[in-house]
């Protein structure tokens, strides 16, 4: 049984970070994992994305042509990856920065106003955590607690950050859980 997801957005939205946290938590749960960032010209400004695979068996291709899930944090990302999503797959859309809905009708769509919520929580940089939470809620790819553990360690240095991010994770998780899917 394998979970894979492409997470994408503007550089600076903390996309690569949530991907790493997800992979790390997966490893902690004894799963086989791989994390692959996009690299190349996009790095200048533009968009960035990463592919995370979490599986019970050794990970074959770390490159996923048609992912089981896509987390789109901005419009270019949605335009780029929505078409590749597997039929029946999961599409998480950050409605704060994306003013269009999904074009696909054969996938589960979870709309998350990540930036708005983040601002509410007084943690404007936490939109990525909300999206991650939503992904976890919808897929259960790894346990929320496991991820929270990793977040604690990642930001061990700045306890303040830890708590706001955990709150963000939980808020996202609730939203995602409401659309729980099996992918």
């Amino acid at each position: 049984m394998q979970n894979d997801v492409i997470m994408a957005g503007f550089g600076g939205q903390g996309i690569l970070l949530i991907g790493k946290i997800l992979a790390y938590a997966g490893m902690r749960e004894g799963k086989e994992v791989s994390w692959l960032p996009s690299y190349g010209p996009e790095m200048r400004g533009g968009t960035c994305n990463c592919t995370v695979v979490i599986s019970d068996r050794p990970v074959g291709s770390p490159v996923i042509r048609s992912p089981r899930a896509v987390v789109a944090m901005n419009l270019p990302s949605l335009d780029k990856f929505e078409p590749d999503l597997r039929p029946g797959g999961l599409l998480i859309i950050n409605t704060s920065l994306i003013d269009r809905g999904a074009a696909r009708d054969d996938v589960t769509v979870v709309s998350v106003p990540a930036n708005e919520i983040a601002n509410e929580l007084g943690n404007p940089r936490g939109a990525n955590m909300i999206a991650l939470g939503a992904y976890l809620g919808a897929t259960g790819a790894v346990s929320l607690d496991g991820v929270i553990e990793v977040v604690r360690e990642t930001f061990a240095a700045k306890p303040a950050v830890v708590d706001v991010n955990i709150t963000a994770l939980r808020r996202g998780h609730e939203i995602g859980a409401a659309h729980a899917v099996a992918v």
Partner: protein, 266 residues
């Protein structure tokens, strides 16, 4: 009916560059393009892009172009100019490209006195590859290959290309300028105009070192970057003309009281 007194020069193609917000590569591109327009040489100009953030310069200038291998643009320029002396040839090179891997090529291109113009963009860092130390990186400046800051005891002091090349005997025009403020940009344009004019008149090799910002790899916002350059780079990289074709040689003489020219034994 309003008159447009400032707009994109003809020699600069109307496309969005891939440069980061506030990166002064864009300013330098425009200044070069304006000079080509004003000298009316665009149609017979061939540019040479380096390997660096400006690797795609060939997409930005409305002239024919060559994309050179890393550091070798001066050799490519030599090939072009020797093949077609009627063309106006310029290289656009970063500090990693020109001062590190391309050191031999720039020194020899300058020393042969190739009648080409070199636009040398010194941003004290390897931009394109993600902020590694350059030969021009400032002492103590943090870079991804000197995480604790450049240690001059291990990596030496920053190389000053304008100073070094101006000691060569072969006639040349060599200047350093900056674009971190609009007024200095105006001065930079003047330096570029003089450099290209020397080439148009078939006089000599010309090189203009332009201090430039790299907000992304310096890790500061563009506004900060201009102040960082002013504070850290300007004192070490003085602006001005270092060499003119008729200005004679600028190499240091032996320190007095040493060996001297004591002649034959008898």
């Amino acid at each position: 009916m309003p008159e447009t007194v400032f707009s994109r020069p003809e020699s600069l193609r109307d496309v969005t560059t891939h440069y980061c917000p506030g990166c002064t590569h864009g300013v330098i591109h425009r200044l070069v393009a304006e000079v080509l327009d004003e000298l009316g040489v665009r149609q017979r100009t061939v540019g040479i892009a380096p390997v660096g953030c400006s690797v795609l310069a060939y997409n930005y200038f409305e002239t024919d172009f060559h994309e050179a291998s890393h550091g070798r643009a001066p050799a490519v320029a030599t090939g072009i100019k020797r093949a077609r002396p009627d063309l106006i040839v310029f290289t656009y090179q970063g500090d990693g490209d020109l001062a590190s891997i391309g050191m031999a090529e720039i020194v020899h291109c300058a020393n042969r006195g190739e009648k080409v113009t070199v636009v040398f963009v010194n941003n004290a860092i390897y931009g394109m590859t993600g902020g590694q130390m350059a030969p021009t990186t400032m002492p103590g400046q943090v870079a991804t290959t000197c995480p604790l800051g450049r240690d001059v005891d291990l990596a030496g002091h920053p190389i000053r290309i304008a100073e070094m090349l101006s000691t060569l005997r072969t006639p040349a025009f060599i200047a350093r300028c900056s674009v971190h403020t609009p007024l200095l940009a105006v001065n930079a344009k003047e330096m570029l105009r003089r450099a290209f004019t020397h080439q148009v008149e078939g006089r000599c090799f010309s090189l203009v070192e332009v201090l430039s910002t790299c907000p992304t790899n310096w890790g500061v916002p563009p506004g900060e970057a201009t102040r960082w350059l002013e504070k850290n780079m300007l004192p070490y990289y003085p602006l001005g003309v270092f060499k003119t074709p008729d200005g004679g040689s600028r190499e240091p003489a032996p320190l007095s009281g040493s060996g001297g020219r004591s002649g034959h034994a008898e």
